[in-house]
């Protein structure tokens, strides 16, 4: 947990230099392309589970219908892998001067603005599949009721660390009144 601590006087003293260092470059970025493999992998695992279930049921009903499992695997797999690729194409994030902007969602498009003043803390996670692919996820927490929703997947560990550090600094610079 990265505590965003705010002693008013100290922040006032160091804020100019910190602000310069943390000056965000406001390009709309997409995720690391390798995240497609992570998501496709996860989609295939889910499809395999579905396929095995369907195949099992079909086998119990009539051993001749085992191919149903394969069909389900191919069908679900195509659909979910397609969704994963589309998800990558849609995903964008932007580190603006006073807020983080996220654009995502295939079926439901979501554009979220997270002001730095509201950031409570920033985590970076690396799941097992992500570790294999050499990727990491940054999770930004706010006090809002849907706080943990703000995740940025598909970053390289260096990017994730830099983003986490930068968001933390920006949150300190933007020190607001007490959040709640």
């Amino acid at each position: 947990m990265t505590a965003v601590d705010g002693n008013a006087d100290q922040t006032a003293e160091r804020s100019p230099s910190t602000a310069e260092r943390a000056a965000p470059d406001e390009t709309l970025r997409s995720l690391d392309p390798r995240v497609r493999y992570v998501w496709a992998m996860q989609a295939l695992v889910a499809a395999a589970i579905f396929g095995a279930l369907a195949g099992g049921v079909a086998y119990v009903v009539d051993p001749d219908y085992l191919w149903v499992g394969g069909l389900v695997f191919v069908g679900v797999g195509t659909l979910t892998v397609g969704l994963a690729l589309a998800r990558y194409r849609v995903w964008r994030y932007q580190v603006r001067s006073d807020s983080l902007f996220l654009h995502r969602g295939v079926l439901t498009r979501v554009r979220t603005v997270v002001p730095y003043v509201r950031i409570q803390h920033v985590d970076s996670n690396r799941g097992p599949v992500e570790r294999v692919a050499g990727l990491a996820t940054v999770v930004v927490y706010t006090a809002g009721s849907r706080g943990a929703d703000v995740t940025i997947p598909g970053l390289t560990p260096e990017q994730a660390e830099a983003l986490q550090e930068r968001l933390k600094r920006l949150a300190i610079v933007a020190e607001g009144e007490d959040a709640v």
Binding site: A8, V113, A143, G144, S145, E177
Partner: protein, 517 residues
């Protein structure tokens, strides 16, 4: 300070009564054994009572609380010791609850809510009534000041100079009971009963000749009326027991309420901690011109929403005036979604209605159930009406200091959010919304009702307008936060200049902004 001594017998009694079912099991299973069951039982009961009395006596000995300079300190625990310091500034609500037994004993439970975590932060079980009120006053005062400031001692007479805002009348209480019926259940039943009524007649057998004389429709309407009356009576009883003697007062930037017939509740809502306001009224309440007001703080976990109701039931104008006295927003002129949203609702409800008709027909045609499936056709003409109702209930208003959103026809909810309380702003657009260039603007606050839909949502507004609004609301939020911060620092420097001696305690940082768990 210790808990009240009377809490020991009460807590012991409570845990013994929880074990009563064990006695029942022993009674049932010990038949036929050699040991006389009564003796065994008596021994068991004595042992259990002694054990639990001992445990709770230890709990009492170990539990101490203390009003420190900056924090409320609690030390507790028999096997694993726990020591907590809760900064006054972090306390959101202080509630007192007492059930009839506790009231007879003269004790009460005190609960402290903070924004962190999902559960109540600290519970004092139990302290004397007077001590509970004293803690509520004292914690409220220190939450506002952030520290214990002896020069503010004059404020401790909070109870005397509080200003009454609202007290529920018997008439309002009864009306509340009759309108607080879940309308969705009633409307579902009014469709399903005509369909199933004849089958019910079959099932009931002997009474069939009587039922056959009644047409499905009259039977259905009669059934709905009976159900509604029962539901209203139950609702009335619940409302009376929950809100009997409801009083809302305001003292020193703090709201305080009392309520309850059997179980008495009393709670505080610091105005400084108010995240958003919600004005709610279902269609029945709106017909007779009534509504309710809820004050949302970050203190309660989702699902505990009921306890933050500031005004359970009052005339619509009065609710609005009270709301505006807490957050001075202007009378809103709601902007409705574009007309193509109404078309969308029409299609959506049409699909649902056709589905119901199809299901009813299938049931009648392919199962032994008989009934007037065509009765459900009444839904079809209702579709455009419902679509228009949903559309006309929706709206948003963007004011200088507040953003408001209104949704829901059967239960209408207006949410008022001050800009400086906004946590995140988002627009979402589903596939169906994008087809019609619509989007939903979601303004999220730290209020705890997130799952209950307490967010301010401008649903189905034009996609471009939504994008603009997202940027506008964010800009205004930054401006509002900056302004509040400036005001806060100005007040702080002024108070430092006035009392240089107090600077030692006042200059402390306001604490980490992470959740104070």
């Amino acid at each position: 300070m210790r808990l009240d001594v009377r809490s020991v017998p009460y807590r012991a009694g409570e845990s013994v009564t929880r074990l009563v079912w064990l006695v029942g099991i022993v009674l049932l299973t010990s038949e036929g054994t050699d040991v006389p069951p009564t003796l065994l039982l008596a021994g068991g009961v004595v042992a259990v009572v002694a054990l639990s009395a001992g445990y709770h006596a230890l709990y009492y000995r170990r539990f101490t609380y203390d009003l420190g300079d900056q924090t409320f300190d609690i030390r507790s625990g028999i096997l694993s010791r726990r020591s907590r310091e809760i900064p006054y500034r972090r306390i959101q609500n202080v509630d007192i609850a007492a059930n009839p037994v506790q009231r007879a004993l003269g004790i009460a439970e005190v609960r402290l809510e903070t924004a962190g975590g999902s559960a109540t932060e600290a519970t004092l079980r139990f302290v004397a009534r007077g001590e509970a009120s004293r803690l509520q006053d004292e914690l409220g005062r220190r939450t506002r000041n952030g520290t214990h400031d002896p020069t503010d001692e004059r404020e401790s007479a909070t109870r005397d100079d509080s200003e009454p805002l609202y007290a529920i009348t018997m008439r309002e209480l009864l009306l509340l009971g009759f309108v607080s019926v879940d309308l969705r259940v009633v409307s579902f039943l009014s469709v399903s009963i005509p369909l199933l009524a004849p089958s019910l007649g079959d099932v009931l057998g002997p009474t069939r000749p009587l039922l056959v004389q009644l047409s499905p429709i009259t039977l259905g309407i009669g059934g709905v009326l009976v159900l509604y009356t029962v539901a209203a009576l139950v609702g009335g009883a619940v409302a009376v027991s929950n809100y009997y003697g409801f009083r809302l007062t305001r003292a020193h930037e703090e709201l305080r309420y009392e309520r309850g017939l059997l179980q008495r509740f009393s709670g505080t809502i610091p105005l400084e901690k108010v995240q958003s306001l919600a004005i709610k009224a279902n269609v029945l309440a709106r017909i007779i011109g009534y509504g309710s007001l809820a004050v949302v703080t970050a203190g309660y976990a989702p699902g505990e929403g009921g306890s933050q109701s500031a005004v359970p039931f009052a005339e619509g104008d009065r609710v609005r005036t009270l709301a505006q006295s807490i957050e001075p927003f202007e009378d809103p002129e709601y902007v409705r979604p574009p007309k193509r949203a109404r078309l969308r609702y029409g299609i959506r409800y049409g699909v649902v209605a056709l589905g119901v008709v199809g299901l009813a027909y299938t049931l009648v045609a392919f199962t032994p159930l008989t009934g007037a499936w065509w009765g459900t056709l009444v839904l079809l003409p209702a579709v455009p009406v419902a679509a228009h109702a949903t559309w006309s209930a929706r709206g948003y208003a963007v004011q200088d200091d507040y953003v408001l959103a209104r949704n829901g026809y059967l239960v209408q909810r207006e949410v008022v959010v001050p800009y400086h309380r906004i946590q995140t702003v988002a627009t979402t657009a589903s596939v169906f919304q994008r087809r019609r260039r619509l989007a939903t603007l979601v303004v999220d606050t730290a209020g705890s009702g997130g799952h209950g839909g307490q967010d301010a949502r401008a649903v189905d507004i034009d996609a471009d307008v939504a994008d603009d609004l997202r940027e506008t609301v964010e800009r205004r939020m930054h401006a509002a936060v900056a302004e509040r911060r400036e005001q806060f620092h100005r007040e702080r420097t002024e108070s430092l200049r006035e009392e240089p001696s107090a600077s030692g305690t006042r200059d402390e940082p306001s604490g980490p902004r992470t959740d104070p768990v």
